[in-house]
């Protein structure tokens, strides 16, 4: 769907800004907000560019850079830290050969950090796109990543 079409699914009311940005990001192949997408949104809602940009850069769920198909968000809140999430991060970095904030060369994964996911009782935890994974350990990480690689192959 074109940017215009996605935007026009919403009423031109300012309170729709976040919904529009999510819709645009979710439908973009790079999982991000392009300059054009933000410009069109501003025009449609009668906002200035900076108003849209301010919102898009405030929320960490939005990215202005193209990202992988699967976004891994690892919780770095105190409980997960206590449960040695740093080891998990290093492991993912090594499997995917990227650093936090980067996207794997096959453009499948982007690794990001996150504030508390509310899963402290089963820390450390992370999300891949909309799914939450808990009680992470060396083996489960490998499995999860492999599962998504297979998923990508299937479609």
């Amino acid at each position: 769907m074109s940017i215009q079409k996605i935007i026009r699914q919403f009423e031109p009311e300012q309170h729709n800004l976040l919904n529009i940005l999510h819709a645009l990001q979710n439908s973009s192949s790079g999982n991000y907000l392009s300059k054009e997408a933000m410009e069109e949104t501003a025009r449609y809602l009668g906002l200035t560019k900076a108003s849209v940009y301010g919102v898009a850069t405030y929320y960490t769920m939005f990215s202005l850079k193209p990202r992988g198909r699967f976004i891994i968000r690892i919780c770095v809140s105190p409980v997960c830290e206590l449960m040695k999430v740093d080891i998990i991060i290093k492991q993912i970095e090594s499997i995917l050969d990227i650093k936090v904030g980067e996207t794997s060369s096959d453009r499948l994964f982007t690794l990001e950090l996150s504030e508390c996911l509310g899963q402290c009782q089963k820390a450390p935890s992370m999300m891949v796109n909309d799914r939450v994974y808990k009680c992470l350990g060396k083996d489960s990480i490998k499995e999860i990543i492999e599962k998504y690689r297979q998923k990508a192959k299937l479609n």
Binding site: K35, M38, G46, L47, T48, K49, A50, S51, Y53, G54, T57, Y58
Partner: protein, 910 residues
């Protein structure tokens, strides 16, 4: 209303008017509670926490900017705990802050750092961390630089842009300690920023600074501040010029004074560089053998005096004429007018108002008895409906537009725009009616019909305030009967339901204000357009109170004043007709001339003077600060007319297209070198003060005029100062009778001001109109088709107008590099459908021709801002003189020319 309350701060009793916040209440009583994010023009933010106080009966430390001062409050503003907390906060803030600075701005943060003994690093608890954050710098704007490392995130710039200017261009990006301000997507030059610089003026730390003159400003060295009035449009913004080493290095808006309360537009803030431009005229010039030769004042003025005298002798008094100037002061224009009437001995004096609001003024004078705006500029904020007709105020009167935007954005006023062309104010509007060019009378008659049919009229008002009462209404009803919504839609192309809705909103509003501009006045039916507006206003009773009336914003700084002081072929100072015997007798007495010598016959108006010159009836002309060779309609004709003159004197600050044709050119002072007064659009007499010395031998206009008169053997009188000239103006014009320079020291006064005790008048017509019987008049007028139409040979209708960054014939504005960086090229707006039909693309060059002439090589801008079949061109650019295309056919009532409507064709440039 304004109740006074008393409270105690640190045991001291203070009294303030109720409604203030606690910090402001303290400030107004010289209690200096520290603060950074607070500014009295902005809503309190409470971000810096420095204004914390303790309030008896309330818990904790409270930011005083966020609480209302209440009667009986007991406040502690300074104790050890509060001072420690403030010091801690400042120290913390410092660690995120780049302290490097230059002396080009007031650094409020540094002042507090020093006040709390944090100047020395050893007194600080926190180490600097700002370098590790990696704050960016945005240097992309033509007029300003933003340095995030100097920013304390106080929100003042964001609120300045949003709350004060109504633009909301700025925002925060990122979060927490890493956040900073952004324009656009972190590139200011690609944002919607139009360069007004309100953010610069309100920035407390120098994080946002202007670019021009950075190398020259040094507040640690001697400098002076001069309060004066902006030389651009007719809003009359109060400027504070900073002068260093004899040059203007900065213009700030003067805070706390009407009409602008510190606000400026890009021209006011960044448009003063022309004053010091090397091309300023510095010595008198005499044309000898086809080229200009420098001359002394005596030689030049002797020649002028001889030639004028010779013309009177050879061709009679009526063979001379003068153009006064809306750029120069009231004092200059008053003496110019006196010169024409007593030295030339006729009434052939006029100026650019004839090309501007003459039709509006004519209609208003006939219907209401006064041609000036009925309400104050700031009164737009009190309106609940603003009807904007043919008026691109966001670009032409940007500071007035801020009040309109406030009304819409913050107070829910509904804005109705009538304009065939898109203007930025459309974004704020409730309804935008887009009638085809020249069909306004039909549209307004349609709206009037709706108001009468649906009984939205104000019977009491009509019976009490309108001549003929309900009978006059019946005549209007009969005339407008045929303007059914269907008929109006057919003629104007405006959807019937929108037109009806607009009429209902206007008539039903409690306080609607009309802002009418050039789109309505510069037509052959200009006077009729405004008659219709006034008809609509009178039958719905929408004038004569705060927030309701009609305001035609004046285009130039002193258009209003020049008419007020009588530089008109039809009226003496204070709008007394030239034919009024009693007034002429009175004026003759004041001037000390025989009454018989004052010509009782009306003089020629602006375009009529040119037409008479063309016919050889006017032989010599004196032009002060006008450039008819760019601004008159049908320029080819104007050029021939001027060339037929035996003798032309032009007095100006730069060479113009007109000085090129002069025999003598006299160098005059700019606003910054002049003393005197201007009158702005809302009748406010405002002081103009000398900030710098004139360049070379340039002299103030009135001095030159007086000396020519002297040399012609008809002295105008002895004046030692501008203030003495003003006092004479006050004696000749009842509307100014109570105004003197001492009363103007702090702020302007709105006429009429009839005695030295009179406070001035912010709203006209509250009790009665200024007509002889005090009643308003309806002038029912029918729609007539335009004489000039598009057809096969000339398929488009061309509209002309102004843009934000340039000003009139751009003699001044184009001599500012800042303004030129925003806009320095002529263009023609073409609708995408027309572009398709003609195979035109963006930036392609076209020749534009009308029955009068051709303008070559103009860049195309494809835009839906114009209707299909219509074009728009700004008139500022000498290389694309659009007035070679316009007509000098005149509106029979006001003698205005139809700049807004010419049939033209487009061809790819040859």
């Amino acid at each position: 209303m304004d109740k006074t309350i008393s409270l105690y701060i640190d045991g001291k009793k203070i009294s303030v008017k109720s409604g203030l916040n606690l910090l402001q209440a303290a400030k107004e009583n010289s209690i200096d509670i520290p603060h950074l994010c607070y500014h009295k023009k902005l809503s309190p933010t409470g971000a810096c926490r420095l204004c914390i106080v303790k309030i008896k009966g309330q818990k904790g430390l409270i930011a005083s900017c966020t609480v209302r001062a209440e009667d009986g409050m007991e406040v502690t503003a300074f104790d050890e705990e509060l001072e420690e907390a403030r010091k801690y906060l400042l120290d913390y803030l410092l660690s995120e802050h780049d302290e490097s600075r230059d002396a080009t701005y007031r650094d409020e943060f540094r002042e507090l750092v020093l006040r709390y003994g944090l100047g020395e690093k050893k007194n600080r608890k926190f180490a600097p961390i700002w370098k590790h954050i990696g704050y960016p710098k945005d240097n992309s704007s033509p007029v300003l630089t933003y340095d995030a490392a100097k920013c304390i995130k106080c929100f003042r710039c964001i609120k300045a842009c949003d709350e004060v200017q109504g633009k909301n261009v700025l925002s925060f990006t990122k979060r927490g300690i890493a956040s900073y301000i952004t324009g656009g997507f972190e590139k200011w030059s690609e944002s919607e920023c139009d360069g007004c610089g309100e953010c610069i003026q309100l920035c407390p730390t120098g994080a946002i600074v202007e670019k021009p003159h950075r190398g020259e400003i040094n507040f640690e060295k001697e400098h002076k501040k001069v309060r004066t009035t902006c030389p651009y449009c007719g809003v009359g913004c109060q400027l504070e010029l900073i002068v260093q080493d004899g040059r203007i290095v900065r213009a700030n808006g003067a805070e706390g004074v009407s009409p602008n309360d510190g606000r400026l537009c890009v021209k006011g803030r960044f448009g003063c560089d022309y004053v010091n431009h090397p091309e300023r005229l510095k010595v008198p010039l005499i044309k000898k053998g086809g080229r200009f030769v420098e001359a002394g004042w005596d030689e030049a003025l002797d020649l002028v005096a001889d030639k004028f005298n010779e013309t009177i002798k050879k061709h009679g008094k009526k063979a001379l004429a003068g153009y006064a100037s809306a750029k120069t002061t009231n004092e200059d224009n008053y003496l110019f007018m006196k010169f024409i009437r007593t030295v030339f001995g006729n009434n052939n004096v006029d100026y650019c108002t004839r090309l501007c609001h003459a039709s509006t003024v004519t209609a208003m004078l006939r219907s209401l008895g006064d041609g000036a705006g009925s309400n104050s500029i700031e009164d737009y904020e009190n309106s609940d409906c603003i009807l904007v007709t043919g008026n691109n105020m966001t670009e032409t009167h940007p500071v007035t537009a801020t009040f309109v935007k406030h009304a819409a954005q913050r107070k829910g006023a509904r804005i109705i725009i009538i304009d065939p062309k898109w203007t930025p104010l459309v974004k704020e509007s409730h309804i935008w009616l887009q009638p085809g060019l020249g069909t306004d009378v039909a549209l307004l008659n349609g709206m009037i019909r709706v108001i009468i049919e649906e009984d939205l009229i104000d019977r009491r008002f009509i019976k009490k305030r309108v001549k003929g009462g309900m009978q006059a209404l019946d005549e209007l009803r009969a005339l407008t009967a045929k303007y059914t919504p269907e008929y109006v839609e057919k003629v104007c192309g405006v959807p019937a339901d929108l037109m009806q809705k607009a009429a209902r909103i206007y008539a039903g509003a409690r306080r609607p204000l009309i802002a009418t501009g050039m789109g309505y006045s510069q037509q052959l039916t200009g006077t009729h357009n405004v008659f219709c507006l006034i008809n609509m206003m009178l039958i719905s009773g929408q004038i004569g109170r705060k927030g309701a009336g009609i305001n035609p914003p004046r285009g130039q700084n002193n258009v209003q004043g020049v008419s007020d002081v009588g530089a008109s072929p039809f009226t003496y100072p204070g709008y007394v007709p030239v034919g009024d015997d009693e007034n002429r007798r009175k004026i003759a007495g004041i001037w000390g001339v025989p009454y018989e010598e004052l010509d009782p016959e009306k003089g020629l108006s602006t375009i009529e003077i040119m037409q008479a010159a063309y016919r050889g009836e006017i032989r010599a002309m004196y032009i002060m600060g006008e450039n008819p060779m760019l601004t008159d309609p049908n320029l080819n004709h104007t050029e021939e007319a001027i060339k037929k003159l035996d003798f032309l004197v032009v007095q100006d600050i730069f060479h113009t297209e007109t000085t090129a044709l002069a025999d003598v050119v006299l160098p005059a002072t700019s606003f910054a070198e002049s003393e005197g007064t201007f009158v702005n659009s809302d009748r406010r007499v405002l002081r103009v003060r000398r900030a710098v010395d004139p360049p070379g031998q340039a002299r103030q206009d009135w001095e030159i005029i007086a000396e020519i008169a002297e040399k012609m053997g008809r002295p105008l009188g002895k004046y030692r100062s501008e203030s003495e000239i003003w006092d004479e103006i006050a004696r000749t014009s009842p509307i100014f009778a109570g105004i003197s320079y001492d009363r103007l020291e702090e702020k302007g006064i709105q006429w009429p001001c009839t005695s030295s005790e009179h406070p001035g008048t912010s709203t006209l017509f509250e009790e009665k109109f200024n007509t002889p019987d005090g009643l308003g008049r309806l002038h029912p007028v029918d729609y007539a088709e335009q004489s000039e139409k598009s057809g096969s040979e000339y398929p488009y209708i061309l509209n002309t107008g102004r843009i934000l960054y340039q000003y009139h014939s751009s003699t001044m504005s184009r001599r500012n590099s800042s303004l030129n960086q925003f806009a320095n090229e002529a263009y023609v707006l073409v609708h995408p459908e027309d572009a398709k039909k003609q195979g035109l693309s963006d930036k392609m060059k076209v020749d534009i021709s009308s029955r009068r002439g051709t303008v070559r090589s103009v860049a195309v801008k494809i835009s839906t801002d114009v209707l299909e079949g219509e074009l728009f061109m700004p008139f500022h650019y000498a290389e694309a003189p659009v007035n070679r295309l316009t007509r000098d056919e005149l509106d029979p009532y006001s003698k205005i020319a139809p700049f807004k409507l010419s049939a033209v064709r487009l061809e790819a440039a040859k």
